[in-house]
């Protein structure tokens, strides 16, 4: 039903709606204009600036008179302008409706600031952009604060690493002094005991031979420890010349296993699963050292009767050598640290040796262009070391 009465309020309402809308638009423009913390402006489809607000003036340095009608590419660094990035950004916004970007922008005075930019495409009914709304925030201070934070964190980490290295060195010195001084004590005491017994006329052959055997064992132990120390100082100085030739990993491993078998409590303590031959090019004595150290490690960290399996698998481009034991496993220490010098577990002060074996092994393997990795056995019992050596030497 239409009546004059009913029509009047209607027409009044639409008039007031229109004026409300207009007032709303004005208010919105004033609002946008008043925003100080964000540069909010419109670009035409060609990239020319259509509107400008106070935030844009504050952040970018241009007044509305200076910038309206200019191309927005002047906000970008010369490199980005040359790379055509400004118009590409508009292209992406047109494709995706909205595009967010972070990067350096240039102020009127040529100084740069770190900006967070959101470009929104305004499209007509057919989906063609008639303008782009661009909202830019100056994140220079936040970025500086973040960088400061990152620097602080990096410094903290570096300090922690330095302290850890110092701690590791102290631990090493304590282990080294214990390991070196004990055989020296045995030699000194052993020789003095023999001399004293002789002085008293109590030195028979059996006593002399037993005493000399103990002295010999102690000096052999000292020799091994000193070689380990010399190796580590050479490795640290990065002087490890390789004498490269053909090496049959299977024959080499058999030699090492034979050496260990003499000292093993049971003849079947070490099992070798391998083909007849697996020849690579490398330094035989150094690779011998790698296998020796891994086997020594496997035997040493076993509390009960040792049980070690060595598997050798040839591949077209190299050979894989796996040493698996049933020892205490690797739970007590991070795997990355294990291969570092002086990086043995904290609970291993009672295990003989300087704790350099794995570090020396890794250095030799890497000098051969290979890899070494450590893991735990599936059932959680024992550890497993995998060495991969390439067939040919990348650095002859």
């Amino acid at each position: 039903m239409t009546s004059p009465d009913s029509r009047v309020p209607n027409s009044t309402a639409s008039a007031s709606d229109a004026s409300l809308l207009l007032r709303g638009e004005v208010a919105f423009r004033l609002l946008v204009d008043a925003v100080q913390d964000y540069a909010i402006f419109l670009l035409g489809p060609d990239g020319r600036v259509l509107t400008w607000n106070r935030g844009a003036q504050r952040i970018k340095g241009y007044t509305a008179d200076e910038i309206i009608g200019q191309h927005f590419s002047r906000f970008y660094t010369p490199e980005e302008r040359e790379a055509g990035r400004p118009m590409r950004l508009l292209g992406w916004a047109a494709e995706q409706g909205r595009f967010e970007d972070e990067g350096w922008r240039v102020r009127k005075d040529g100084t740069r600031f770190w900006a967070d930019v959101i470009v929104t495409a305004l499209v007509d009914e057919s989906g063609v952009p008639y303008a782009y709304a661009k909202v830019t925030r100056d994140l220079t201070e936040r970025r500086a604060a973040e960088e400061q934070q990152r620097r602080l964190l990096a410094e903290q980490e570096a300090r922690k690493a330095a302290e850890e290295a110092l701690h590791a060195r102290d631990r090493f010195l304590s282990i080294a002094s214990h390991e070196l001084k004990t055989p020296v004590a045995t030699v000194q005491l052993g020789v003095e005991t023999i001399l004293r017994a002789r002085g008293r006329g109590r030195l028979d052959d059996a006593r002399l031979v037993a005493g000399l055997h103990r002295v010999r064992a102690a000096t052999e132990r000292l020799g091994v420890l000193l070689n380990e120390l010399l190796d580590i100082s050479r490795l640290t100085a990065d002087q490890l010349p390789l004498t490269v030739g053909d090496v049959d990993l299977v024959a080499l491993t058999r030699d090492v296993v034979d050496r260990f078998a003499d000292a093993a409590p049971r003849p079947d303590a070490i099992r070798l699963v391998a083909p007849e031959h697996a020849v690579i090019s490398g330094d035989a004595s150094r690779i011998d050292q790698v296998i020796t150290n891994l086997l020594d490690n496997a035997m040493k960290y076993t509390d009960g009767a040792p049980e070690v399996e060595i598997r050798i698998e040839p591949h077209p481009d190299g050979v894989e050598l796996v040493v698996a034991d049933r020892g205490r496993g690797l739970a007590s220490m991070p795997k990355a640290r294990m291969f570092e010098a002086f990086g043995r577990g904290d609970d291993t002060t009672s295990v003989p040796g300087l704790g350099l074996g794995l570090h020396i092994a890794r250095t030799i393997v890497e000098r051969h262009g290979g890899r070494i990795a450590a893991g735990s056995q599936p059932e959680g019992r024992g550890s497993i070391f995998t060495v991969w050596l390439p067939r040919e030497q990348p650095y002859p």
Binding site: S177, H178, P183, A185
Partner: protein, 133 residues
């Protein structure tokens, strides 16, 4: 002097055997243990007058051994000489309630003099060769 009972607790085979041999030569009754746990077992049936004690040992080190020994009241009157290569041997000896300490490597006379003095009841007698307290 009359033979007394000496327990040698040391994990290094060569050093332990040499100490046992030289102390037996001096007329002492000597028992040996490779670690603290074995030493505890020995003291259950055999009372020592003196214990030569290494600090770092597998399974049970000197600290664990001493607290277990005290808890059981085993060989409570035994004198203790600590043997160690550790730089902190003096602190360790103090914590272990030891009568003397000998830093490795030591001379034969250091060991024999320390043993003699402690077993003669000469506690606190400071001799230059026995570098203890």
């Amino acid at each position: 002097m009359a033979g007394r009972r000496v327990l040698v607790v040391e994990d290094d085979d060569g050093l332990r055997e040499t100490l046992v041999e030289v102390l037996r030569d001096e007329g002492h009754e000597v028992r040996a243990a490779q670690d603290g746990a074995i030493a505890l077992g020995t003291l259950e049936e055999w009372d020592a007058d003196l214990i030569l004690l290494d600090v770092m040992m597998p399974r049970m080190d000197a600290f664990a051994f001493r607290s277990a020994q005290r808890a059981r009241g085993a060989a409570m009157d035994a004198k203790v000489i600590v043997l160690s290569a550790a730089p902190e041997i003096e602190t360790a000896a103090d914590q272990l309630g030891a009568d003397r300490w000998l830093p490795k490597p030591f001379r034969l006379t250091d060991v024999l003099d320390s043993v003699d003095e402690l077993l003669d009841g000469g506690v606190g007698v400071d001799s230059p060769s026995a570098r203890g307290r």
